[in-house]
Amino acid sequence: MKGLFAVALGILTAIGGFVDIGDLVTNAVVGSRFGWGLAWVVPVGVLGICLFAQMSGRVAAVSGRATFEIIRDRLGPKASMANLGASFFVNLMTITAEIGGIALALQLATDVGPMLWMPVAAFAVWVVIWRVRFKIMENVTGLVGLCLIVFAVSVFLLHPDWAAIGRQAIAPVIPQSESAATYWYFAVALFGAAMTPYEVFFFSSGAVEEGWSTKDLGKSRLNVIVGFPLGGLLSLAIASGAAIVLAPAAIEVTALSQVVLPVVVGGGKLALAFAIVGIFAATFGAALETTLSAGYTIAQYFGWTWGKYRRPAEATRFHVVMIVALIIGCAVLLTGVDPVLVTEYSVVFSAIALPLTYLPILLVANDPEYMGEHVNGRSMNTLATIYLVIILAASLAAIPLMIVTGAGQ
């Protein structure tokens, strides 16, 4: 019974923790501009993140070491420096976006400007990382994040034409008001939002924090295979709400306050309360994960002592990196840059950095020296190789598409 509860809790946490500010904004933007025309990207991205998160979790469970430690071992310091640089930069952008997301969520509830909330949010993230136990932190944000289910409930309350949705999703068409380049730019952005690199670093480092062994492989696989796709359904619900309410009114999403409009139209004030709590939990949880990922990647690369399970005094450099990352993220936001704009750029830069993150994971997962009998099977490698081709194509196309479309104009 206790084991079953642990599995259910893991799955629920994975669902609630799947959506972050990148998913919220990108899905709403895409839904408002393309309807269901880009819905196919979500399952493609979700399958990709399932594949590589499961792989990095297995590496951690079998070897007892986090992904970045092994990448440095396997590729050497020079080659893995490129990986570290790209991952850390994208992670820093994501931290910035998430802190901005927390501030915007609090603004929706209070009408107090986000600039006042940003330092509060960054400080709260640091306090939680400093004081709260890993398991509690992960479970609370994941479970409260389940409030985002209100986006799915709202879709039903809006009574859409399901047949039309099905037709658009199965046979996607580019709207007349949009160009093919813009369509593919947002496809890359949506893919980048689903496959954000920090998710795998957090997943593998979290596995080490929780002391996973080969006995936990089944549980981790279940969390990923059930939890992430259900989280992906939440992403689709956000896009669907925008497609039903915003697209017909020619409203293009440029602010978080527009993302909740479909929820308010469908469910009124009660639904709005759930949506704001869900957005707060999702962005706060993601801010914790990205901040920890900043510490994890740097500490693992340089071989420093790391881990939340250690007292801060025992892992000072790990904690200093996280504090510095939070200060930088907050400082960038306090210059007055639009958090939604940071989010939009962070998901595109995620797509650019994807090959540097996922290729080393595939190499390590195939190395018998670390994995023993748990190396990837043939079908897993075939699927992963197909994904690497997609990832490479998205990465190479991202910058030209960004220039040609003026970042999705």
């Binding site: 009408d111 020619a250 440029t254 527009q258 409009l261 139209v265 709005l272 220039i403």
Partner: protein, 153 residues
Amino acid sequence: MARRPPWRRIRSAAVIVIAVPAAGFLLHGCPSIRDGMAGQLAQAQKESESAVTTGSLALDLWRNHKSTNQLAAVQLSDAGDEVTKAYKGIATLTADNAADLRQQRTLTAAMTDAITALNAAGALVRGVGTDDSPDAARQRLIAAVAQLQSANS
């Protein structure tokens, strides 16, 4: 000083031959260069119309007690910021023909009215002294949307 091997020079030349035209091609495709002033005016009009429609919907939901004061105020304020951003983007453009100049004038005038209507609606929602009723504020926003639409025709 050691000379660079010939293959390196060939590689550098090849990179320049490929990268420079590619960058030029991409920059030529950049919307602000590709579409010119007319395109930028159309984009600003589209963004402003979207923002004011958001404001109108936000006010409507608030009027019908489906939304909170806080959310409606934030939505109206965000909509005002969006129109202001679009205004700044086109106000300093230099027109090189009479048609663009005329459209720029009409559009900036419509955007000014839209910002005023959004500010008035925001003041109403926040309970700051205003004589507007919710219905009148909504009518002003609907009129602002119509004015923006006609500014592009």
